[in-house]
């Protein structure tokens, strides 16, 4: 029986100070019993000779200097993982909350994980079809990739994530196991409910493990939720050979929880009050996506974050963009025009796309079409800016063509019915139809040979 320490010597926000301890180790998990019955978990975040500073996951409400018994567990935060967790709902630290009983762990794993050795990684190359033209065509999702959705409050990022989950397929002939790990950090009750319902309706819920930390749950718990979820994901992927899609929402709440805890620790802030190690902490999560050589499973991440005030230069989206392998950016103006999904393709990107598309994966002309659509759509912006100054009528015939192209691109390529599951050939065909609106000599990103094969001048559809 381990020693229990009675009482605390200080409480400050989510942090408590315990004095007179011996044998405490850095990053160790402690169990606290309040008033003899309520249990809380804490983590040692600083330790000195006989003093430990502990961060309490479930919040410090109800804690007093005298009514707490603290027990050292002797190990860092661990999660008991099991295949049984698929189909279950857990709270932010991995305890079941769906009243379906305890989960018998197959293994205990340190939730902090360990960095994957770059030598043992396998470079991701297999594309995941999402059935969404803008993503498949222009920012292809690759198995083992981390591709976040940059969104804003009120934009349909949840709907988009749910649609990706429903439609994502590894290819027609694949019989590989596919499962979803869903982690919600500080989300509204309705959002958690939306995902639960969507998973149920589409019949995938037996393949989903949900970790839910709601907006009114303790802030510190939020810091551990994604780690817990990714630990399960890694276990299922690398020990059970499954292909795991991890949805993390909302990373903004995670980062804000970190800021809150950091400031109560009295740390020196860097930008907008966020701690200097925000990058390292985000990286430690995102880098847990990937494929390991010789193992059949994979971890693919789709983190969702809401950009505060739609500002892409805010530290959270900014640092995320530096770590992840691309981003899908949602746009309020497009959303206002009822374009669904409202993906602003210009700042969106998939870094792994180039190696997972083209001949043998999708179709030989894919990269060229994508480049040309990006490049032509960028010119639409110039034409629109000019039109807003001198009026549409005064534009040159070419600029007018660009305006038409831009409108059609947003309507037919980016926009699609939420139930429309397009295959890649359909996506590319629409791409060519749109490029046909422009004169051939404007298509400077496509090889002459490919143009000869696919280019056909088209006219805009009537009745817009």
């Amino acid at each position: 029986m381990a020693i229990e320490y009675l009482g605390l010597s200080g409480i400050n926000g989510p942090m408590v100070v315990l004095e007179g301890v011996s044998g405490a180790s850095y990053d160790e998990i402690v169990e606290m019993t309040v008033d003899g019955n309520k249990k809380k978990l804490g983590r040692i975040i600083e330790v000195y000779e006989d003093k430990a500073i502990i961060q309490v996951f479930e919040g410090t409400e109800g804690l007093g200097l005298k009514n707490v018994h603290t027990r050292l567990t002797g190990h860092p935060m661990e999660l008991g993982v099991s295949e049984e967790m698929l189909g279950r709902t857990m709270n932010g630290v991995g305890t079941p909350i769906d009243s379906l009983g305890e989960i018998i762990p197959e293994k205990m794993l340190d939730v902090n994980g360990q960095p994957l050795n770059p030598v043992t990684r396998e470079y991701p190359r297999n594309y995941i079809r999402t059935g969404i033209s803008a993503i498949d065509g222009l920012m292809t999702l690759i198995r083992g990739q981390k591709l976040p959705i940059f969104s804003g409050n009120g934009l349909p990022h949840d709907q988009l994530a749910a649609q990706i989950v429903q439609q994502a397929s590894l290819g027609e002939d694949s019989d590989e196991e596919f499962a979803i790990v869903f982690a919600a950090m500080g989300v509204k009750h309705d959002v958690a409910e939306f995902f639960r319902k969507t998973f149920e309706e589409s019949g995938v819920s037996s393949h989903v493990a949900m970790f839910i930390n709601q907006a009114n749950d303790p802030v510190v718990e939020r810091l551990i939720t994604p780690k817990v979820a990714l630990t399960l994901a890694e276990y299922l992927a690398f020990e059970k050979n499954m292909h795991i899609l991890v949805i993390l929402t909302d990373m903004t709440s995670f980062a804000e929880a970190m800021r809150e805890v950091s400031s109560s620790k009295g740390e020196i802030p860097s930008r907008k009050g966020f701690p200097g190690y925000l990058y390292s902490e985000l990286a430690a999560l995102y880098e847990r996506a990937g494929i390991v050589k010789g193992i059949n499973g994979s971890v693919t991440q789709i983190p969702i974050l809401t950009m505060p005030n739609d500002d892409i230069t805010h530290p959270i989206p900014d640092l995320t963009g530096y770590i992840t392998e691309g981003q899908i950016v949602l746009d309020r103006v497009l959303n206002g025009q009822s374009v669904y999904p409202p993906i602003n393709v210009l700042p969106s990107l998939s870094r792994l796309m180039k190696d997972g598309i083209g001949e043998g994966f999708t179709r030989a002309d894919h990269q060229a079409v994508a480049n040309q659509l990006f490049s032509s759509y960028a010119k639409v912006g110039d034409a629109r800016a000019l039109a807003s100054v001198i009026g549409e009528d005064e534009l040159s015939p070419l600029d007018k063509k660009y305006l038409v192209f831009g409108r059609e691109f947003e309507r037919r390529f980016v926009g699609q019915n939420p139930r429309d599951n397009r295959d890649i050939i359909r996506t590319l065909t629409i791409g060519w139809e749109l490029l046909g609106l422009l004169p051939r000599e404007e298509l400077d990103r496509i090889d002459t040979k490919i143009l000869d094969e696919y280019y056909q001048p088209t006219t805009p559809e009537e009745g817009i």
Partner: protein
Amino acid sequence: MAKTGIIYGINGPIVYLKGDAGFTMNEMVYVGRENLVGEVIGLTSRGTTIQVYEETTGLKPGETVTGTGAPVSVTLAPGILTNIFDGIERPLSEIAKTSGAYINRGVSVDSLDTSRKWKTHMTVKKGDRVFGGTIIAEVPETPAIVHKVMVPPDKEGYVLSVAEDGEYTINDPLVTIQTMDGREEALTMTQKWPIRMARPTAKRFPASQPLITGQRILDTLFPLAKGGTAAIPGGFGTGKTMTQHQIAKWSDANIIIYIGCGERGNEMTQVLEEFSELIDPKTGNPLMDRTTLIANTSNMPVAAREASLYAGLTLAEYYRDMGYHVAIMADSTSRWAEALRELSGRLEEMPAEEGFPAYLASKLSAFYERAGMMQNLNGTEGSVTIIGAVSPQGGDFSEPVTQNTKRFVRCFWGLDKSLAYARHFPAISWLTSYSEYLNDLGPWYTEQVDKRFVDYRNRIVYLLSQESSLMEIVKLIGGDVLPDDQKLILEIAKVIRVGFLQQNAFHKDDTCVPMEKQFKMMEVILHLYKKSRSLISMGMPMSVLKEDPIFDKVIAIKYDVPNDRPDMFEDYKKQIDRFYDAVVERNA
């Protein structure tokens, strides 16, 4: 007997000891039962501060810290090339063998393979006087690179005995010398060198040769000298890593040290895979044969990230001492600066701008000043070129890392978000970028490429800057109202942008373009401009000129003319002349 101390407190990667354990500043220490690697970063009579290069989870106060008596150093010997190391020179492939897919803590592996036997050819004989830097043996390290075994910089003496040519491990004695104070000392292939100390050289040369990268916008517009320093700042997705990959692949440096500092794991895997397959056109060997990777991915411990840049730099200096031209890709120096900030925060130092420590600028300048074209101690010439990526927060170049870097580098390749959005790659902005090496390198271009090269380059830049000021007007009133000579400038600038500056890294010819072709491309573009201008001055409207496909043909030169067919350019000039004659005839 090694000195030891007892841990008093732990805060992330920072560990405190009470009292003075007798360690020295920057000494390497082993921390705790698991022997985590650490470095002494603060000493007072009351306590010692140590930064630990591995995760400190599970460490307890009361555990022992053991000194090694030496500063944090790298091991220098054959076996460095083709390898991939972590931030403190531990080989990741060996770590994978002992601890599997993940990187465990406290792994103790030799930096270099000590059992491998290298074919060795001795280059000194008995009685020779040797100095620091004298080459005592040659080892073919890879098919591309001969490793020159040198006397460590701080040793000199007379050779007493020399081993026969043969096969030796890196720890076998090769030469015995009598030092100046009469002691005998055996030399092996191995030397150790502290990472934070520059290796000594005899003399620094001014920049005189360019580092040819095969990238048109770099070689022609903003050249970098061998031994120079360059920064590539850009927001995410603008192509910093891509540009560095291209330079690592195609530049004419002998050796590439690629430091992945706080970046993505998949990127390092990609470099590893791609470079093993790609063939260096100059030597016919895999590119990996001249490359060393240092990987401290963003989820690896932050203190080792701070050390990784110095480790890479020291390896580079070692190969420079052999007489090689070495280029360092540091991706990204912002992550390194953030590691500094994080450690500084943990030490509760007074922050300067945006939480960065006040010594950021001096650390950056000390880093970049280790670059240079040098005469080595052994008389050979070698260079270390540093190309550092900068990841400014929010893509805002006014932040402290970009601004301080700008002060210490002479070549600035600013990446532009709007170019990247339009998928114009490399997205290096021709308006904000600059190179201070232009004047230094002018004579080289005049001699080695063509005497008109610098003139042509300046005319291209002038056309681009004219385009940029004309675009201000076009944005307000549209392009149609411009006079024809200005329309021509826009048209030619488009040819330059699309046909010359844009470069396709995935096209077999376009990915790396020799200087001769770069020059000829400029020549053809300027020829087209000259002829078109004289048509315009004869009163031909731009719309008539544009009926001819010649503009598109010139744009497509980059794809249509193979790199080894410079003779085809004559034909393009003739086509331009014919276009001129045809337009004159039709409209006369």
